[in-house]
């Protein structure tokens, strides 16, 4: 039961956090200058976008849930299970960020999910 709670937090808060961070970074704009001072400027601009703070809070929650479940289960099981967020991520990309997810990309996501299912079934 506690593992299930941790997994739900990792997938739910993690995916939500990534979507918020992605939305914030799109608002910041494409990064073209990779010098350290320019990157600090990008970070400062990103932290002025409220979506970034929501995203960081959600990702922090997911991080502590990940730590908790890693104390209970093997890494080679935990990390693939967290990939169940792929479907949620593609849906979020389409409906939250307005991205056009092509049929081919959906197929790729589906294949990845089938692989994840094999990983879970190969528990023993």
């Amino acid at each position: 039961m506690r593992e299930l709670i941790f997994y739900l937090l990792i997938i739910g808060a993690g995916t939500g956090g990534e979507l918020c961070v992605s939305r914030a970074m799109k608002a910041v704009g494409e990064v073209k200058d990779f010098r350290p001072t320019a990157l600090l400027g990008v970070a400062a601009r990103a932290l002025r976008v409220s979506w970034m703070w929501v995203g960081l809070a959600l990702m922090g929650t997911a991080f502590f849930a990940l730590l908790a479940v890693l104390s209970l289960e093997n890494v080679s099981l935990v990390v693939p299970v967290t990939a169940l967020s792929y479907a949620a991520g593609a849906l979020g990309g389409k409906f939250f960020l307005g991205e056009q997810v092509s049929r081919r990309r959906w197929m790729g996501v589906l294949i990845v999910c089938v692989g994840v299912a094999f990983v879970i079934m190969g528990r023993r």
């Binding site: 506690r2 709670i5 990534e18 979507l19 961070v21 992605s22 970074m25 799109k26 608002a27 910041v28 704009g29 494409e30 990064v31 990779f34 990157l39 990008v42 990103a46 990940l66 730590l67 908790a68 890693l70 104390s71 209970l72 093997n74 890494v75 080679s76 935990v78 990390v79 693939p80 990939a83 792929y86 991520g89 593609a90 979020g92 990309g93 960020l97 307005g98 991205e99 056009q100 997810v101 092509s102 081919r104 990309r105 197929m107 790729g108 996501v109 589906l110 294949i111 990845v112 999910c113 089938v114 692989g115 299912a117 094999f118 990983v119 879970i120 079934m121 190969g122 528990r123 023993r124």
Partner: protein, 137 residues
């Protein structure tokens, strides 16, 4: 969309960094948390647990790796679609299985390896789609 090799090169470079440092971070966190012991949902133990987590060198190394992963991730998300980057970086699952097997000595069953291969196949399909579908803002 810019059709030159530039955007694709920097996209692939940052995804490579994500694929290396993401799994490394997870494996280090796993190693550190196994040393600390099982986490319970009891508030009384929370402070003690937090202090053990924050004084673990392995956990901090894992956090440093994940920060590197996160910086690469945020940079690539400034121009490429989330629904492209997330699946493309899933080759990291193969890296996690390899590191878990060879570094942590975890038992990875044949079915789990098959799952990893299928995941990589999915990554190839995803990688053949354009990295950006929305107009820059």
């Amino acid at each position: 969309m810019n059709s030159s090799a530039g955007p694709h090169f920097k996209t692939y470079l940052l995804i490579l960094l994500m694929v290396i440092f993401g799994p490394l971070g997870n494996v280090l966190l796993g190693k550190g948390m196994k040393r600390i012991g099982p986490v319970n949902l009891q508030a009384a133990e929370a402070l003690d647990l937090l202090s053990r987590v924050l004084t673990s060198g392995t956990i901090w190394l894992g956090i440093a790796s994940l920060i590197t992963f996160f910086v690469a991730y945020m940079l690539v998300l400034s121009w490429a679609d989330y629904s492209y980057v997330q699946p493309a970086s899933s080759v990291a699952y193969g890296m996690v299985a390899l590191l878990a097997h060879f570094v942590l000595r975890e038992v990875v069953t044949p079915m789990r390896w098959m799952g990893v291969v299928i995941i990589c196949l999915g990554v190839v399909v995803v990688g053949q789609t354009p990295p950006r579908t929305t107009e820059p803002t």
